[in-house]
């Protein structure tokens, strides 16, 4: 078991290393370097010189990569080209906000999606399944920025129940975001639930048509007992990985929602830093998000492996 765990962690580390290589070489390939990109027209003379100095661009590419990677492991991502601020702190705040948004959406969305997925799966092709599935398709296809605007209009402008725009600054502690985060979470949950619901539904349908459910029926096991003890544990296994895969999207992909709600998350920082050509920040974000993604996927794998007896015994024997 331990050997398998170590192997998985090694694989995760390799993935993160590859991400760092991809991002570093990606940036290297872009015309000019971090300073010329940032200073653009004013990239000459003393100004360019001390920017290069600050970013340590005078060293060879490999040396720079190893220094950068080594310090990154220690959590020191150097200084941003725009305003020479500590990147670790800048990105740290934004990551905290994005994780807050992601985790609250997951906490609300995943149980809801599983519940609805099971319902539509069990009452397949009945009215409740048809209505919920159509709603899911709509929720999935209407762009988030539209549903976000509609919700702001409804709850903040007309009804005035909830604050529409997030005014809390990036570095504020998580709890201060509370009333303002409700609307963004609702929008995020809508989209995420739609995706997971469809997956859980097809998985439940497949399991309910399985041989062991037929056998349980013919063993005289009452219907609901079959659903909860026999069917659901097997149907919900694949859901774990799907949820893990949405993390990459949740961390940086919800930029549109961040813009509409003025939410200080990673998505907006990505846009700003890339538009400003603040490449050190871009590299840092990529690395941090990749590490979180690998971490979450690793734990998802472990959870699936732990929940699925077939895999667990397979790995036990491998010890």
């Amino acid at each position: 078991m331990l050997r398998m765990l170590l192997r998985r962690m090694a694989l995760g580390a390799i993935t993160v290393a590859i991400v760092s290589i991809i991002i570093f070489s990606g940036v290297e390939l872009l015309p000019g370097d971090a300073c010329t990109a940032f200073l653009e027209r004013e990239a000459k003379g003393k100004l360019l010189e001390n920017c290069r100095e600050a970013q340590g661009l005078n060293r060879g590419p490999f040396e720079r990569y190893f220094d950068w990677a080594a310090s990154a492991i220690r959590g020191d991502f150097g200084v941003s080209a725009n305003g020479q601020k500590s990147i670790a702190e800048l990105v740290g705040n934004r990551l905290k906000n994005s994780l807050l948004l992601a985790s609250s959406s997951l906490a609300l969305g995943v149980p809801l999606a599983i519940l609805l997925g099971v319902i539509t799966g069990l009452w397949r092709d009945r009215p409740i399944d048809l209505t919920l599935s159509t709603i899911a398709i709509f929720a999935m296809t209407i762009p988030e920025f539209v549903s976000a605007t509609v919700l702001i209009l409804l709850f903040s402008v007309w009804l005035g129940w909830l604050p529409g725009i997030v005014l809390t600054p990036a570095h504020a502690p998580a709890v201060e975001f509370f009333p303002e985060i409700i609307l963004p979470v609702i929008v995020l949950t809508m989209v995420m639930t739609a995706h997971i619901l469809r997956m859980v539904r097809s998985s439940v349908i497949e399991v309910m048509a399985g041989d062991y459910v037929q056998m349980a029926t013919l063993k005289g096991v009452p219907y609901w007992r079959i659903v909860f003890r026999h069917a659901l544990p097997n149907a919900l296994l694949p859901a774990i990985n799907v949820v893990a895969l949405t993390v990459a999207w949740l961390l940086g992909g919800v930029v549109v929602i961040e813009v509409v709600f003025n939410y200080p998350g990673l998505g907006r920082m990505i846009i700003d830093s890339i538009s400003d050509r603040d490449l050190p920040v871009v590299q840092a974000i990529a690395l941090i998000v990749a590490t979180v993604y690998v971490g979450v996927n690793l734990s998802a794998d472990l959870l699936t492996m732990f929940a699925n007896p077939r895999l667990r015994t397979l790995y036990m024997r491998q010890k």
Binding site: E40, R41, E42, N82, G83, K85, I152, S156, V157, G160, P163, G164, I165, L167, T168, P169, A170, H171, A172, V259, N262, P264, R268, I271, D272, S275, D276
Partner: protein, 492 residues
């Protein structure tokens, strides 16, 4: 001496001051234009004027009618050739940190601006000052290197705030001033909290607390106003005005101003280094249509001169759209098949994208192919403005002389179009020295015509400002931003 009287009369008007106990919170947004470099130092590049205007005072401030009015200087007069000015200061005024306001503070504040190392954009407004001395605790004498009749107008500049002597180093975050509100906590990217200054010299302010919140995106600010998260938003578009007036929760103030929006073409960069090209890109604009399209009619056409409509030196130039003329000029300059232009805008100012698209359509007729590029709102003024070749720009109103000096003088810090033209500089200098009003006026007129001929900035209109205000806010002066008496406001 005529001026002396008007100053005294104005100070009497101040008598009717609010006496009630300050209560409630007034919330306003600022645009985070300078991103990480925002600061409370009034003369710095990243000053957040929405905060400095509430915590600090000037010597002279614009009255409700726009004329200079007593602020920390109760009265002022000059010698015959207006080269030496003396100001009487207001007695009994204290800074927020308790220290008393006196002449030494004025000397310190003005010298700080004049000091070349401070590299402050406000320097061009007071460059003509050679020395500032305190005659006694309550009198200050300023001598100029040239006769300047409108000197008080210069001191009305929104950046020339009086600081306590020696407080220059930490002013960026402390915000120690004499204004109606004091800084409780400053957070550029988040919410800055100001509290009422009970012993403000004009009387305690009507509101107990003010919040100035950083929201970069214009759309987000509007949604925040509609959602009741902020109480005032300056610069809403005509279309949005329709929305606000339709609900009883909001009022809209319509204030003709000298503020203007436009597109700046850097004259130090190909192809705009050629004056003919510069003229062509500006001739294609149909300014009436732009006023209707972008401002919904709430604006006054301008001919690329930064002088407000009711300024005494305003030159009346006719600048109708001239597509053929522009094409000819372009061909003459060697661009027969037109030019490609990337115009950088952002939603920091809601009207910019609309202006760019409208201009794009009009310019296309003359073979000028415009590509509109959307830039992020955070840090627009520090990363896009005066960096990209062509970008949208925005200026608040200024008296003619100060505007011309600050935007087009070759040595001006904010010469956004990098307009280096000795003859134009000489013209301005002679205008200042000219004592006779008519001849001074003539020089300013020809300066504006000169800009119409070979300036680098397209200024299609000056804006009639629309200010959306929540109905819970009352007695907010319906005047230019610079003249609002913030201590008068109350909220229910």
């Amino acid at each position: 001496m005529k001026m002396l009287l008007t100053a005294a009369a104005a100070s009497l008007m101040l008598a009717g001051v609010a006496t009630a106990e300050p209560s409630g919170t007034f919330r306003q947004a600022h645009e985070l234009g300078f991103g990480a470099q925002s600061s409370l130092d009034p003369i710095s590049k990243g000053r957040v004027f929405q905060i400095t205007e509430k915590i600090m005072n000037r010597l002279v401030r614009p009255g409700l009618d726009g004329k200079p009015q007593a602020d920390l200087a109760t009265s002022w007069d000059a010698n015959e050739d207006a080269t030496v000015w003396t100001f009487e200061l207001r007695d009994g005024v204290t800074f927020h940190d308790g220290s008393t306001f006196e002449a030494a503070d004025v000397v310190y504040s003005l010298n700080r601006v004049l000091d070349p190392d401070s590299d402050s954009p406000a320097r061009s407004a007071v460059k003509m000052i050679t020395s500032v001395e305190a005659l006694d605790d309550m009198t200050v004498q300023i001598s100029l290197n040239t006769p300047f009749a409108d000197m008080p107008l210069q001191l009305m500049d929104y950046r020339l705030r009086m600081l306590n002597e020696g407080s220059g180093d930490d002013i960026a975050t402390s915000g120690n001033g004499t204004g109606p509100f004091m800084v409780e906590s400053f957070d550029a990217e988040g919410t800055t909290v100001l509290v009422a200054n009970p012993d403000y010299w004009e009387g305690a302010p009507g509101v107990a607390r003010m919040e100035v919140i950083g929201i970069a995106d214009g759309q987000a600010r509007l949604q925040a106003l509609l959602g009741g998260q902020i109480d005032m938003e300056r610069g809403i578009t005509a279309q949005q005005q329709v929305m606000l007036t339709s609900s009883n929760k909001f009022d809209v103030q319509v204030i003709p101003t000298g503020n203007w929006r436009g597109l700046v073409f850097r004259t130090d960069v190909e192809p705009f280094s050629d004056p003919r090209v510069r003229k062509a890109v500006r001739m294609v604009a149909d300014r009436d249509e732009l006023v209707k399209l972008v401002l919904g009619g709430q604006g006054v056409v301008a001919c690329d001169a930064p002088v407000e409509p009711n300024d005494q030196y305003r030159a009346d130039i006719a600048c109708p759209q001239d597509i053929e003329g522009a094409k000819a000029l372009l061909a003459e300059a060697g661009y027969a098949d037109g030019i490609d232009v990337d115009v950088h805008v952002s939603t920091l100012e809601s009207t910019w994208p609309t202006l760019a698209v409208a201009y794009q359509e009009q310019a296309a007729a003359a073979g000028i192919r415009v590509n509109v590029v959307q830039m992020p709102t955070d840090g627009y003024w520090s990363e896009v403005w005066m960096k990209k070749d062509v970008a949208a720009t925005r200026w608040n109103e200024r008296p003619a002389d100060q505007a011309l000096h600050e935007i087009y003088l070759s040595t001006a810090r904010w010469n956004e179009s990098y307009f280096k033209d000795e003859s134009f500089d000489a013209m301005l200098a002679s205008a200042r020295r000219e004592l006779d009003f008519d001849s001074r006026n003539a020089i300013y007129q020809s300066a504006q015509e000169y800009l119409w001929e070979n300036g680098g900035t397209l200024i299609p209109y000056t804006v009639t400002k629309l200010i959306g205000v929540s109905s819970r806010v009352n007695n907010l002066d319906a005047v230019k931003n610079d003249a609002v008496r913030w201590h008068m406001i109350t909220v229910d």
